[in-house]
Amino acid sequence: MEAILKIDNLRVEYRSREMGQGIKVALNGLNLSVSQGEVFGFLGPNGAGKTTTMNVLLGFVNATRGRACLFGTDVRKPIARQRIGYLPELTYYYKFLTAEELLRFYARIFRIPNPERESRIDAVLKLVELADARTRQIKTYSKGMQQRAGLAQALINNPDLLILDEPTSGLDPIGRMKVREIIQRLRSEGKTVFFSSHELGEVETVCDRVAILSQGELKAEGRVSDIVKQHQCDLEQAFLRIIGYSTPSLQ
């Protein structure tokens, strides 16, 4: 299968602002490959390097060494982001815009022609169930609605790859269920989804494959069922073992 997302020997270093702290290695020798149509879960404890990896993929951070490509194009080129959709962990949008205006803005950035633009806006707003609130400013939305507006903007260009940073964080159970439904619908449409999450149950439900990251290094990668089988426990316990967290109950 064609690799849509490919990371080769990626290393990211940060120069610490504190005196005497030197250089901090956020990612070290990461290799990863995600194929078309996969739902890929990116797991790891806080500070493991998940967000750094996403930031490299989105062009926010430059790699110290190694290479990351989307659709075979180096992520440092803006065109690499033409076919992706990104949903940040928290909703960060222009609150003085309505959902409709926000989507029109992003659609113009993707150079979606005018007639298609409007039909696309209608479709995604319907998909995320915001059609009734489309003319209201985003600042009047509830948190769940804002997250759905975020999902709508991530889908406006009909992306082939979706990068979701903890898409269900802070949502109520209904909100989570809706996001899960949308991910599954996208999978059924043949889209590739790359998402990070702390909700291991959710990952188990929707992901084809997962990668577990700890201290900037890839600790495990494979199908959820294989990892569970290998460790002979559920995903949560397997995760804790892989990252090296040990409790008396695990021992």
Binding site: Q82, Y86, Y92, R108, I109, R111
Partner: protein, 260 residues
């Protein structure tokens, strides 16, 4: 360019939906109208003081609008983290800066048109004349000066983290240029020595915004038009400085960490 226009359009919408502009316009109109009602020796035809006050308020308002709008663009994108979904799209940092600049500049242009129409109406109510060419020259020169100021503010906002610092420093710099810029060479000649040389260098390096602001006097005292070729030269002069400041802003911004 489509991306730049899209970003610019959002900036314009922001300005339209925020209250800053309306408050300043109402304040300008109110002060001008109140001053217009004052009786000076039973003479209803006195107009130049009114033109002076109105144009001064328009300049102050335009500086407040342009500097405060431009100063918060990039820091607000970072602070509200709206920059991340935006840069996750096929948008370069240069396009982002250019879009922000264009948005601020166009928004200020729209505001200026409204201000100058009001000014024209006030002047016409007493002078019974519409020197449209004069107003056009003054408006476009004013707008050109704002291009330099906005580009300067954007560059400042990349260096300084807090918009309030950018606003304050840019105001001081712009006010300094407007008030002292044209006289620095005289001071340099009188000062002499190293300080004199430094002042001379500053004189030739800074954008002489006072050229654009001085046009007010031509309008107030009904002087003839600025020769069109000279006028066009001034626009080019402003364009060069705006481009220089935008280039500096881009050089500072292109590798700058986004504080993730």
């Amino acid at each position: 360019m489509n991306t730049v226009w899209a970003i610019a359009f959002v900036v314009i919408l922001e300005l339209i939906r925020k209250k800053d502009f309306y408050v300043l316009f109402v304040l300008t109109a109110l002060i001008t109208l109140v001053m217009g009602t004052v009786n000076f020796f039973n003479d209803d035809n006195i107009v130049r003081y009114l033109k002076e006050i109105c144009l001064l308020l328009i300049w102050i308002s335009s500086l407040v609008i342009s500097i405060s709008t431009a100063a918060r663009q990039v820091p607000a994108e970072k602070e509200n983290r709206t920059i991340f979904p935006l840069l996750a799209k096929p948008v370069t940092r240069a396009q982002l800066l250019l879009g922000k600049f264009l948005g601020c500049w166009l928004a200020c242009g729209l505001a200026l048109v409204l201000f100058y129409v009001f000014f024209g109406a006030v002047a016409a109510s007493r002078e019974h004349a519409w020197p449209v060419a004069h107003y056009f020259q003054a408006l476009v020169l004013h707008w050109a000066a704002l291009a330099v100021i906005i580009a300067l503010t954007l560059a400042g906002s990349i260096v300084l983290a807090a918009p309030s610092s950018t606003v304050t420093i840019t105001f001081v710099v712009v006010a300094g240029i407007l008030y002292l810029g044209g006289h620095l060479d005289k001071v340099a000649l009188r000062t002499g020595g190293v300080a004199g040389v430094a002042l001379h260098v500053i004189y030739f390096v800074i954008p002489h915004l006072e050229l654009f602001a001085n046009v007010r006097d031509l309008i107030i005292h009904n002087w003839p038009l600025v020769p069109w070729l000279v006028w066009f030269g001034a626009l080019l002069y402003a364009a060069v400085y705006a481009a220089i400041f935008l280039l500096i802003a881009w050089l500072l911004f292109r590798r700058k960490a986004l504080n993730i």
